[in-house]
């Protein structure tokens, strides 16, 4: 696992009450993205599940994740986030056709 993936996971575990984190480095898919090359940061995708997201809107959840990884900002050009509560994650994995955000 690359250093930055390790650091992302570590900082998210430290700052948020989470049970599951998956971080993917998608930088290879954006090799021709000029601005990203100039910034030196990578493209990452985080799937994160935790009780800390209970009762929070998606906007609030994203803000929590962004704040948690702030110290690694210079290494991140783009961060895609899927943030679930444990219940949402469970219902999603039990029935893959079901969107956990659907009401």
């Amino acid at each position: 696992m690359s250093d930055i993936l390790y650091k992302l996971k570590k900082v998210l575990k430290e700052k948020l009450d989470v049970v599951h984190i998956d971080v993917l480095d998608l930088s290879d898919q954006h090799r021709r993205h000029k601005e990203s090359i100039a910034s030196g940061g990578g493209h990452f995708h985080v799937t994160i599940t935790g009780a800390c997201f209970e009762g929070k809107t998606q906007i609030a959840r994203h803000r929590m994740v962004y704040k948690a990884v702030q110290s690694l900002q210079e290494h991140i050009h783009a961060l895609s986030i899927r943030a679930y509560t444990p219940d949402e994650y469970e219902s999603m994995t039990n029935d893959k056709g079901q969107n956990p955000n659907a009401k």
């Binding site: 954006h30 906007i59 994203h62 962004y66 900002q73 899927r82 969107n99 955000n101």
Partner: protein, 105 residues
């Protein structure tokens, strides 16, 4: 944040029913996430105003502070921040975006 930048942002989000802060233009987006937003709004046939933050560095910094959101694109509907790329695409997938946009078209 400079007061004039804040005023400009407030004016933009309040005088346009849908306001998008993006990289590039709807015709020529310069980032995949900005392109996704342009595509989804086109799909909903929703007319929107946009600001190309690559040409407006002060707005680029200002909108991040204003929204308390560190990334671009950002979408405002009726003066309210509804999300960046992930959140707006989620709203689209759940059918919520259709309802939000129905109120402003």
């Amino acid at each position: 944040m400079d007061e004039s930048i804040k005023k400009q942002i407030e004016n933009d989000i309040n005088s346009n029913k849908i306001m998008v802060y993006m990289k590039g233009t709807p015709q020529s987006p310069e980032c995949g996430f900005s392109k996704s937003i342009a595509d989804v709004l086109t799909l909903h046939d929703a007319p929107y105003h946009f600001c190309n933050i690559l040409e407006n560095p002060e707005i680029r910094q200002g909108i991040k502070e204003y929204s308390d959101w560190p990334t671009i694109p950002q979408v405002y509907v009726n003066g309210e921040f509804i999300g960046g790329c992930d959140v707006v695409l989620d709203l689209h997938n759940t059918g919520e975006l259709k309802k939000i946009l129905a109120g402003v078209k």
